[in-house]
Symmetry: C2
Subunit: 488 residues, 2 copies
């Protein structure tokens, strides 16, 4: 199995597609740009969802569900928003099919044309703020802290599974507040939730920062982002949290009576992460043998493989080990297949990124040991069977930490600080990765750099030090370095 | 609050809408026929989902996700299916909007017409079986036991929140098997899962049976249903599980090599329940004071109300009670509002259907008691504070059982056995409810009865006794009684 993967060094892009396919995560469907998320890929998404959902609820949010369709006119209500989203989208124009009068099959019934076209949501700010108008009357109705798990559609021309698909799954939070300050705090709280999730659950280090004006969400006054480095040195925007000011409240006339009985427009945030995170996960940890998963997101954390094949004794011992592990909340699979060879199975579980593999033979039982193999380092060790559950529990923690540490080291090694544009181009071309450089703060320079190098400002990092410098291209003064990279 | 509800006896249909609105479950949206599921309604759906999802996984199913869109031509591939589903649906014809050249707003870009129209899924058999063709090659790939949680769209003309909406949320299972027998067993297994869920979690008794041919799912050879009686005596189809034979395998050319290396078409099932269950829940238990929820689906199982308003002592005692309850896995809310009066709060929690309310005043603390009010019977009692968590835990179990028992008794009282068509019409008109009567097994008689009375055959019950009789309309022989009712 494993040998069918294109090596990363040969072709990173093909390697990615091979992993998606061979690990059984997703595949293209009959509908252009829409993927089928296969059971193993979906199981990872369920783990991502559960972890995030718990964090959203712990920070006071509730889930709700808003319509899939948005009346076309809603999209034009917020001027920037329509520019950003109304262009490539799925438009519903009719509500009925009829038998083809000229032959077989069905055709659109021309009588069933909608008065106003409906757009399949590319994001839900407009329909949600149109709803909030009825929900918010007084400061007592605020804050309103709502999230929805949903599918959205953006008609992308070039698609790649998880990274960019016409339909994708995501969560979108939409909150309403009585003050600018509170809305800004909310946007930052979620920014923190996303960063913590990325690091502690995905084992994916991220740079937290604000987007430059031209990279902001359509309709936002401020966009906070978490940016991760993929193994090819490119950046991936893994989650964004937007401070929307009063833009949507004004577009949809959402006002509230404040404590002094005066009418004010409501302040807003929105924020989201999507199935794109699975793409990020793959490109942070995986290798030429397949997927590598952090234990906290692995649908199967431990697999027990009886060697050379299952027999009654091996299955009995495996069963005991499995229940001692399950008692600790660890998910375990016992491989009961009698046909495939151990080597084939090992390759298969490596492909799937199962963090820990336990190999159990009759000789092991005699010696009261078991062979423990880690997916991350490929190390194997013969470990005493007694208290194996404690050993494995600690090993899973160690693997989770090791993956984060490894990704951090990788990122540090590919992070540069440059002062001149020549140096910038040279690093981009030869080393790649993240580049910290001075920027004069203008969209003009930002555009020029993008045009000349394809690198973009990923963010103005939260932890950027005050440091006087000059823009590497314009020579104008700058107060801090920003993060540049080529990006997905 | 409560007084704003229309009494059931006055207008059951308006009573239902009032409950949906006043309990904060859902509301109509700006998009015709699409509802907004509000946080409290969605929290109930999450509980339904969790319970069902666990049962699906325990019976060996995995979740996956298939595209929202279905190419128009797919719908015509299975002859019966297209008749049933291709008619009223949302049709995507374009993939781009553009600025209106004649003024403001956006219009559909005529250049962006799709080559083939896409249908927003009304159900996913077609796209899924088109996918299964690549997944199934050999008997070793079977069974394939997959479920998806998704939104679907059917362009209904007359909608009612939860009961019938253009967009709704549901799960749809789609399984593939190597033998007819195994597929039939799967359809029955899920039928059992649905019935058990309805009774043990929703406290909603159901009649299990098979649909008559004309009431079957479009494309099915057999449809199993669970039918519940609502408080107005009408039936509600709460879940269906279909044995699809080889219809979809043949339509999408899905074959496998059997153990003898011979090619065969695959056998299929599909099954689903939807947000309609929330409508069923409301119409099974609720009363003129609002929603009544079985404890197993209540987002808040216990509310503690300090009387007349919170003070430090009351909140301290309430906090201790709350944690002793939470330790038992019971969800508790402490009402900390200082402005509303207790009477108002009581009405509010009754409206929301919180199963148990604990009223706590300073006098109670002195006497070491607490006032316990049940939502189902409206009984109140002063209970010793010691071990109150055990008392409440048992009370929740008792309420769950009582609701099921009450609904069973209600159904039995409104179930009739009739032998003549005059009697049938008389019972339908005056008593309503479920009617067991003989039927000759023909679609012709079934249609005539429906035309004359609006009653339909809800199912041929699993437990129908062999009993010779004659059809009440045609006089032809019949071997068993079937279940008739007017239905939602």
């Amino acid at each position: 199995m494993a040998k069918e993967i294109t090596p990363k060094k040969e072709n990173y892009s093909q390697w990615y597609l091979d992993i998606v396919k061979k690990a059984g995560l997703a595949e293209n469907s009959a509908v252009r740009g829409c993927m089928v998320i296969k059971p193993y890929g979906y199981a990872i998404w369920e783990k991502i969802k559960d972890e995030l959902d718990r964090r959203f609820k712990e920070t006071g949010h509730q889930n709700a569900y808003f319509p899939l369709f948005i009346p076309k006119s809603f999209l034009s209500k917020e001027a920037d928003h329509v520019e950003g989203f109304a262009k490539e989208c799925a438009v519903v124009t009719h509500h009925r099919l009829m038998n083809n009068p000229n032959g077989s099959g069905v055709v659109v019934d021309p009588e069933a044309k909608l008065e106003e076209e409906l757009i399949v949501r590319p994001t839900s700010e407009t329909i949600i703020w149109n709803t909030y108008r009825d929900w918010i009357k007084s400061y007592r109705d605020l804050p309103l802290l709502i999230n929805q798990w949903a599918n959205v559609v953006r008609w992308e021309m070039r698609t790649r599974p998880f990274l960019r698909t016409a339909e994708f799954l995501w969560q979108e939070g939409h909150t309403a507040h009585s003050t600018s300050k509170e809305a800004m705090e909310e946007a930052k709280t979620i920014h923190d939730v996303y960063a913590d999730f990325a690091e502690s659950i995905m084992a994916m280090p991220v740079i937290k920062g604000a987007k430059s004006e031209s990279e902001r969400f359509a309709g936002a006054l401020e966009t906070y982002t978490i940016e991760a480095m993929m193994q090819d040195g490119k950046a991936l925007q893994a989650g964004t949290s937007h401070f929307l000011g009063q833009n949507f409240a004004k577009a949809f006339e959402v006002k509230f009576l404040n404590e002094n009985n005066k009418e004010e427009y409501v302040w807003a945030t929105s924020w989201g992460v999507s199935t794109r995170l699975i793409g990020a996960l793959i490109m942070t940890h995986s290798d030429d043998d397949g997927l590598v998963l952090p234990p906290k997101l692995a649908p199967i954390q431990v697999v027990i493989v009886p060697i050379p094949k299952p027999n009654e004794t091996l299955l009995e011992v495996a069963g005991k080990i499995a229940s001692s592990l399950r008692n600790k909340g660890i998910s375990v699979k016992i491989d009961t297949d009698r046909k495939k060879r151990p080597g084939f199975k090992f390759a298969e579980y490596e492909m799937m990124g199962v963090p820990v593999r336990l190999g159990l033979g009759m000789r092991d039982i005699e010696n009261n040991v078991i062979e423990v193999a880690r997916r991350d380092t490929k190390e194997k060790a013969s470990i005493p069977m007694d208290n194996i559950e404690n050993y494995v529990e600690n090993l899973l923690i160690e693997i989770q930490e090791n993956l984060l540490q490894k990704a951090k080291t990788f990122r540090e090694e590919r992070t540069s600080f440059v002062d001149t544009f020549d140096e910038f181009k040279e690093v981009l071309e030869n080393k790649g990765g993240f580049i910290y450089a001075h920027w004069d703060g203008t969209a003009e320079t930002e555009d020029k750099i993008k045009e000349l190098t394809k690198a973009t400002i990923r963010c103005i990092p939260n932890d950027a030090k005050e440091e006087n410098g000059v823009d590497m291209l314009s020579g104008k003064p700058s107060k801090r370095r920003v993060l540049f990279a080529k990006a997905y």
